[in-house]
Subunit: 395 residues, 2 copies
């Protein structure tokens, strides 16, 4: 069974074979598979399951793929608090075929609320006269059904958990997320994020195995979109034709100015995308992020301004390249750098938050996308500063 | 104990307390901790351990942090093939306190070579009259000591393993990597990769908790380096002052041309960085990558060339903006785009391979770094094309 499109394979099977396949899957895997199928196929696929798994899978289909509920398996090992150790071990041994893991067991009350967790390892090394109640850990980690998958993966990794219980608001246990599923989800989302930040649609397969046609399509789309956006720069510079004709040196610094905006914006965007993925930054933090990036943008802009002005002054001292107006040029470039870098960091940091607010993926605020957004504004800032500092030179 | 700098805390402790702390750690964790300390402190820290753990930790310190040996724990549950099931379970129960996990056990011959693996779950659901030899899996997954951590994490995730045995060349078992360590390592490296591709030094802590000073330092370094590199564009354009003075329209397309090179380069670099991290692409594949990117670069360049030339022709038709030489301008921009995009994809794809060959981190080939490298060349290509197609107009 190819790892690529298992659902296509299942859809192409004769009914009887499909039934056998679907029944062999754990409910969370069946739900993942069905989620990949076109919506109109869902009822037929669900009908192939037996009544009880069908109910479980239907419940799982109600969750989004990237939240705890979408990752969880509803079949977990249950224990009652009053069980004796040997009884509990024997009970787990009997459940071994039906549940996702018997290494962690969950102690529930009669309302299915989670009282505590106990590991098989603890059971195996406990004294035989103890009860599950005495052994269970009450300060366990858990997640709510709608927790984002990246946050689940981070919590499990930080606390080195092999499985984590998923609870609803009233602490009724819904299922468990096991570390293999969390790790796979975490790896997939990190991979997608990396590619988006690098400025392309995510390639799912291996680089060398992807067909040329597929690779071209994945790259051409974004590249053309960015190109169309960047075309605005030609129009923008066109407006300043007169200024460039009068002071041709202004053209020399165009790439330097706009790339500084793009680079600082891409740094800020990456930081915020990462912080959002790790659950450190939420939409509500926008004000704290803005304040911080405002400071950072002014600081970084001032640093580049200092380097840039020094460079112009020294280079002019050596070669006399910039003629009589070198001081005005240095001021134009220096102040533009502060403006452009500040605008870059603010755009880069706010764009992922805005994308999330509009329910898009924040990682689409890729380095090239931010650069493209910032470039036109960078040009406007630059030529406006030129008009201020070159007053008298520019007519 | 702060998650940030546990080693600083340990170094600041009085000797007796330090000894207690270090002894409480598993050997792989102790090795990680000691690895974070300055080299001259290593002997003192090792001396705080008892002789047997000290030998284990010293052996682990010989491995690099990012390879299987550096992640592994040398304490794993061992079984002999001739053991009966109940005997094996009892033996695992006794080992529970000393080994990293008892959920997976490793069946070794008398030379410590790995014969097979058996899970506690299999043992618990087996018939009592069986022997370990009959139950163990012989087609287990394993890794060599020097396997890269990303490859270990990928293998474990693909096969949904909770632990993987680490073998030396003669299949002698050295230890196990457990999924929590693999996941943590995988998360850390993905995080670092993302930030590097976004163009900054990796921030270890949370975005909102990092001090302004630290954040500024991490960002200013790269940003200034890129700025210094980008300064070459000002010098480069300076060489074409005469051309711009004669045909000022040439300046309009500078950002469009160089950003196309940067964007296509950043796509290619991200793809290759990702493929290398996943172990899909190695140095030896450079020729296959080059051939593929050559094709892709020509294809993408031609696509942008078509869009760019159409835009100039249409815009000229509407506004007459580009005067009598609009056809020459369109040809200059179009051919430059093919050249620049091709150069961008080739640079972007080869840079990560070259960095690896020089033992640097391929992920340092960030979007902004590639863009900076490509920009100067892009300008040279552009103005060279202008000289060809504007022959007679440019004197």
């Amino acid at each position: 069974m190819s790892a690529r499109d298992p659902i296509e394979l299942v859809l192409s099977m004769p009914e009887e074979e499909r039934r056998i396949w679907l029944r062999a899957l754990a409910p969370d895997d069946a739900a993942d598979l069905i989620q990949g199928a076109p919506h109109e196929e869902h009822p037929a696929l669900l009908a192939a399951l037996d009544p009880w798994p069908r109910a479980e899978v239907s419940a799982l289909l109600a969750y989004k793929e990237d939240e705890a509920g979408g990752l969880m398996n509803p079949r977990f090992a249950r224990l009652r608090p009053e069980m004796e150790i040997d009884e509990a071990i024997a009970y787990l041994r009997r459940q071994a075929g039906q549940v996702e893991t018997i290494y962690y067991a969950y102690v529930l009350d009669t309302d299915q609320r989670l009282l505590g967790t106990v590991s098989l390892r603890d059971l195996l090394s406990a004294r035989r006269d103890q009860h599950v109640r005495q052994l269970m850990r009450r300060n366990y980690q858990s997640v709510l059904e709608h927790e984002r998958q990246e946050a689940v993966a981070k919590l499990m990794s930080d606390h080195r958990l092999l499985a984590i219980p998923v609870l609803d608001k009233s602490r009724v246990m819904q299922g468990i997320v096991t570390i293999d599923d969390a790790m796979q989800a975490g790896r997939e989302s990190a991979d997608e994020q990396l590619q988006k930040v690098g400025g392309m649609e995510a390639l799912e397969g291996a680089y060398l195995d992807t067909t040329f046609r597929k690779m071209f399509r994945k790259r051409a789309g974004w590249l053309s979109a960015l190109f169309l956006g960047e075309m605005l720069t030609a129009t923008a510079i066109g407006f300043y034709e007169r200024e460039i004709t009068q002071v041709v040196m202004l053209a020399f610094f165009i790439p330097l100015i706009i790339s500084s905006g793009g680079n600082s914006g891409s740094q800020a965007a990456t930081l915020v995308i990462r912080a959002m993925a790790l659950g450190e930054v939420h939409l509500l933090h926008w004000w704290r992020v803005l304040r911080r990036e405002l400071l950072c943008g002014i600081g970084l802009g001032t640093a580049l301004c200092a380097i840039g002005m020094t460079r112009i002054v020294i280079w002019h001292g050596i070669s006399g390249a910039y003629g009589e107006h070198f001081a005005r040029l240095a001021l134009t470039v220096g102040t533009s750098l502060i403006g452009v870098v500040l605008f870059g960091t603010l755009t880069g940091s706010m764009l992922p938050l805005m994308l999330r607010a509009c329910r898009f993926d924040p990682a689409s605020a890729s380095a090239p996308a931010v650069a493209t957004l910032v470039d036109v504004t960078g040009l406007v800032i630059y030529f406006s500063m030129a008009k201020v500092f070159m007053l008298g030179v520019l007519r």
